[in-house]
């Protein structure tokens, strides 16, 4: 038995929307193909990654928010952990890594990649393999199915790859009998999960040093790392002000400003197009990242690129907060050179079917527009990313 994921709730809501709204239909998303049982992996038109994100952080409608929160609320974190643990014990042969992953993924605080890492760890735990090879093949299969579950999520792919590398690449395995090797593997897997889980705190500690009293920070999109970072800074009694972009279409900026308001940080909301207008009062820009690519650039929510461009032209530093499991072996040459991640956009009014809508969810910011990356590996310049990647993957 597995819990329905938050993205599923989103799917259902969209289904309703299709029925009610003209604009939904024109966005030509084949909702009919979707079963309510599963976030559809076969529909390449909608990025499951962004569905989850907007389910977790977006503010679409207030009633949906209540619904989503209710969905999340009925299984608090601790319960999920215990539940999944007990499940792995009794599920036996019917164990599915996707279910496990979805289980973990429901927690809004847990990054997708960390969920995947935890799910892979439980694959090892519940594995009935008797040889190392068998176990590795099983693990490979599980990570492949996770990756194919959502090809648009960069951190999921990268997290799975890194997990496989980190866990299975240890020479100690060759000298042990299977059981101790398996427990060592499990140990490494959990350690990796732990590292990934702690990454956010590490980054927050590293990054908050860059915030000085009286500064104004521009934030784009809802990034849990950036939130953690600002939270840490606020707890350290730094006095700063935050400008939040609205973050259309899922309006994640609204949610972010909510969170900041709870911390008593002065917040100002901007519409996305007001970035250049308010840039002169900004001291630094903080963004998260969906993925950090080999050139040292980042792939992030739509709008990051233009903010970085404006910042560059006004000589404002752009800081990126990203965990190292988001480092991916990708190298986009330009904006279109990526796996497209599309998501529906609600314009609020019917749009004639002749009009095209750009539904891309993310853009690529080249490294020359970024100042520094805060990662759990340390504070890096963009060019170091590739060095780290070569060392991780070669």
């Amino acid at each position: 038995m597995w819990h329905r994921s938050a993205s599923f709730i989103l799917d259902k809501r969209e289904n309703d929307d299709v029925l009610s709204s003209e604009s939904r239909r024109m966005s030509s998303l084949s909702m009919a193909a979707e079963t309510p049982q599963q976030p559809n992996p076969n529909n390449p038109n909608i990025s499951a990654y962004y569905q989850t994100r907007s389910a977790h952080h977006g503010v679409v409608t207030s009633d949906w928010l209540a619904q989503a929160q209710a969905a999340v609320g009925h299984s608090p974190d601790g319960a999920v952990t215990e539940n999944s643990l007990s499940k792995t014990v009794d599920s036996g042969k019917t164990f599915s890594v996707i279910d496990e992953f979805n289980n973990w993924r429901k927690q809004p605080d847990l990054a997708e990649a960390v969920a995947a890492i935890r799910a892979l760890a439980s694959v090892i735990r519940s594995s009935e393999a008797t040889t190392m090879m068998e176990l590795e093949i099983e693990l490979k299969k599980a990570s492949d199915s996770l990756k194919s579950w959502d090809t648009t999520s960069i951190s999921l792919t990268a997290g799975c790859d890194l997990f496989m590398r980190y866990v299975t690449r240890t020479s100690a395995l060759e000298y042990e009998d299977f059981n101790s090797a398996k427990s060592r593997l499990l140990e490494r897997a959990e350690k990796f999960g732990e590292i990934s889980y702690k990454a956010r705190k590490i980054i927050a500690m590293l990054g908050q040093d860059f915030i000085f009293d009286g500064c104004t920070i521009l934030v784009h999109g809802f990034s849990r790392v950036v939130l953690e970072l600002l939270k840490t800074a606020a707890q350290n009694r730094k006095v700063f002000r935050v400008l939040c972009t609205e973050g259309r279409p899922d309006r994640s900026g609204l949610r972010f400003s909510n969170e900041l308001a709870k911390l008593d940080v002065p917040v100002k909301l901007l519409i996305d197009s007001a970035v250049a207008y308010s840039m002169d009062e900004v001291d630094m820009i903080f963004v998260g990242a969906d993925g950090v690519v080999e050139s040292g650039g980042i792939i992030n929510m739509m709008g990051t690129y233009q903010i970085a461009l404006v910042a560059k032209s006004m000589n404002k530093p752009v800081y990126v907060a990203a965990e190292s499991y988001k480092f991916a072996r990708l190298y986009p040459l330009d904006q279109k050179d990526m796996v497209p991640a599309l998501r529906p956009i609600d314009f609020g009014v019917p749009i004639p079917s002749k009009v095209e809508v750009e539904t891309s969810a993310r853009d690529y910011t080249p490294p020359q527009y970024l100042t520094l990356l805060f990662t759990d590996l340390g504070v890096l310049t963009p060019s170091v990313v590739s060095d780290e990647l070569i060392q991780l993957y070669l």
Binding site: G296, Y331, D334, S383, S386, D387
Partner: protein
């Protein structure tokens, strides 16, 4: 030879010290340290022996010095001034170690490649080997001993080593301060004589174990003289280490330095005397490029061809490849490199170790000789430099226990592996990566003719991608035509234009694919002249520039401009347009004093203009080249 050397010793040691002191790990003490702590490969590494002993730190000085047959001042030949270690173009790489019994007297110019008969010294020098002060003898044996023990246990740094070294430093330090130049020379001549005498004797005391060696100086000499590769491997190794550096110095004077500064007249004169290829210097050279070699084209080839059947030290296969380089039949980094390696394979097949010599050292000397011949035909490309470095490392790392045929077979397979892994497979991987960057509807621009780019385009076409190619070409080589012909033959849609139209055609281009002769560690791309302009225009049009280059062509050097290291082509080629009589206004003018013709072969593209470098390690930004260089070095030098 002394007559030749004396003025040089006085010449300018101070200047040289300044130049050489900088990299501390490259000083002459390098090899000493390396022997004790690392496998003997390090001996062949370019850094180790490229420096004159002038800056040997005092404690080690004597030991290094004593094992040399000539005074330490000797290698101060002006030829070596430019040997500040900059990378594979280091002299040592091409002209490094290992023939011990070289005729030290190299003033008889063309004879430098004759393997010297060891008896020579015995006759020419009086044996005065035992006049040395006892202290010196002592320290000498000790140092000798340390090397022997190290050769036996190449990796293990034993306590004994440390002890011995300490002892050596203790005994030699005061000596260093005392000895005058004359004394040192006397000492060395004595040693040389002793060595020669021992060789002449040829008594089989090679079995003399290291314990025995301690007792007196004489057995050392004998052992050294008679050491042969099979009988006494450890001692052979000793001899190698001791005298490598000595012959290295001979070598350095003999072999034209790959980056010799050709604006230094005296040096050029000397180099000329020795060269196999008779070359005439071009007269009117451009001021800024006087340091690069430029010869009258067309004079060398017939001369060389006529000498094909003369008994030369150069193997026919190598000779053939050299001729083809000279004639321009083989061009392109990969083609030249493969041709060279295959010629070396041929020569290794035909190789047999001369009596009284060790394969490792003799073969390295042979390779050096071939390489210097090839340099005379055409300056080496960086890819070739790296391949040579690889080959020499392999030779140096051959286990001493291997028989000759086994050693040869190992080398042949090593070369085969290098060709297939580092060049052919690397190209396949590059193609695999690069096609992912080609989308339907793309317009790809390429400049000149690069084998990697051609493979990428053809493979993308085979995959059924719908794209168009713009081939940009330039005089005088017009290499793009051949590429164009092959592409059109396969049915690829092509546009052909000259580089003059680059800014016009760049509007419609979506990707620029370029090959490279080398990628330097600051990300600079060293490639066919014109590449920089293409990349610059592409950059200003915001078109991504993709450089396709195999990782074996990467180099740790840093270069900021195209001036300090480059190659000059035939100036006639740009002065004349064949078949166009009406525009050949420069006929007969090329020797005019007021006219300087510059035909550069390469240029350096700054890394700012490069979006991505596609190598066999994946797609990397130009800032990551040093990482690849580091990883790659480790891989192919240490495995």
């Amino acid at each position: 030879m002394d007559s030749r050397r004396v003025p040089r010793t006085v010449s300018d040691p101070k200047v040289r010290q300044v130049g050489f002191f900088a990299p501390p790990d490259r000083s002459q003490s390098g090899p000493n340290i390396q022997f004790s702590s690392s496998p003997p490969v390090s001996d062949l590494s370019p850094s180790g022996n490229s420096l004159s002993p002038v800056m040997i730190p005092p404690p080690r000085h004597l030991s290094a010095d004593l094992s040399l047959p000539r005074p330490p001042q000797a290698p101060l030949s002006p030829l070596r001034r430019d040997s500040i270690p900059v990378g594979s173009y280091n002299p040592s790489e091409f002209s490094s170690p290992t023939t011990t019994d070289f005729p030290a007297d190299d003033s008889s110019s063309p004879g430098w490649h004759r393997r010297g008969s060891s008896g020579k010294f015995a006759t020419s020098l009086p044996s005065a080997g035992f006049e040395m002060p006892a202290a010196k003898q002592n320290s000498f044996t000790v140092s000798r001993l340390t090397t022997v023990s190290k050769a036996n246990v190449p990796l293990g740094v034993t306590d004994k080593d440390g002890e011995v070294q300490k002892e050596r430093t203790a005994s030699s330090k005061p000596l260093k301060e005392k000895t005058t130049k004359a004394e040192r020379r006397a000492l060395q001549e004595a040693q040389r004589a002793a060595k020669a005498a021992a060789k002449a004797d040829g008594t089989k005391t090679a079995t003399a174990a290291s314990g025995e060696l301690k007792s007196s100086l004489n057995p050392v000499k004998i052992a050294k003289g008679t050491s042969q590769k099979k009988e006494s491997p450890p001692i052979a190794a000793t001899e190698k280490k001791g005298s490598d550096r000595a012959t290295d110095k001979d070598r350095k004077k003999d072999v034209p330095h790959p980056r010799m500064q050709f604006d230094d007249k005296s040096r050029v004169e000397k180099a000329k005397k020795r060269s196999v290829v008779k070359q005439t210097e071009a007269k009117n050279r451009v001021e800024l490029f006087r340091h690069l070699p430029q010869y009258e084209h067309g004079t060398r080839l017939p001369e060389l061809e006529s000498r094909f059947f003369q008994l030369d030290p150069v193997h026919p296969a190598v000779f053939k490849v050299g001729l083809r380089y000279l004639a321009g039949d083989i061009s392109g980094g990969n083609a030249r490199c493969i041709a060279m390696l295959q010629a070396f394979q041929e020569s290794i097949k035909d190789y047999s170790t001369p009596p009284e010599k060790a394969l490792i050292r003799d073969l390295t000397a042979k390779v050096n000789c071939y390489v210097s011949f090839l340099i005379e035909c055409r300056p080496l490309s960086i890819s070739m430099g790296n391949a040579i470095r690889f080959l020499k490392t392999r030779i140096a790392k051959l286990p001493l226990t291997l028989s000759e045929s086994e050693a040869k077979a190992t080398l042949l397979t090593d070369i085969d592996r290098f060709i297939s892994e580092k060049i052919i497979l690397a190209d396949k991987v590059i193609v695999k990566h690069a096609v992912t960057k080609i989308r339907d509807g793309d317009v790809l621009l390429t400049y000149g003719s690069s084998s990697a780019v051609e493979m990428i385009l053809l493979h993308a076409h085979e995959l059924g991608k719908d794209f168009r190619v713009v081939v940009v070409d330039a005089r005088p080589k017009l290499e793009g035509r051949l590429l164009l012909r092959r592409l059109v033959g396969k049915g690829v849609k092509c546009t052909y234009t000259h580089i003059n139209a680059i800014s016009y055609i760049m509007h419609e281009v979506t990707r620029v694919l370029l090959g490279a002769s080398s990628v330097l560690s600051n990300g600079t791309v060293y490639s066919r002249v014109g590449t920089a302009s293409v990349a610059m225009v592409a950059n200003s049009f915001r078109v991504p520039v993709l450089i396709c280059c195999e990782a074996y062509k990467f180099h740790e050097r840093v270069q900021l401009d195209s001036i300090c290291s480059n190659e000059l082509g035939d100036p006639e080629a740009i002065a004349k347009v064949p078949g166009r009589m009406e525009i050949n206004h420069l006929d007969g003018w090329s020797n005019s004093d007021n006219l300087q013709l510059l035909n550069l072969i390469y240029d350096a593209t700054p890394s700012d203009y490069v979006s991505m470098i596609i190598t066999d390690y994946g797609m990397i930004p130009p800032t990551s080249v040093p990482v690849i260089v580091r990883e790659y070095r480790r891989e192919y030098l240490w495995t």
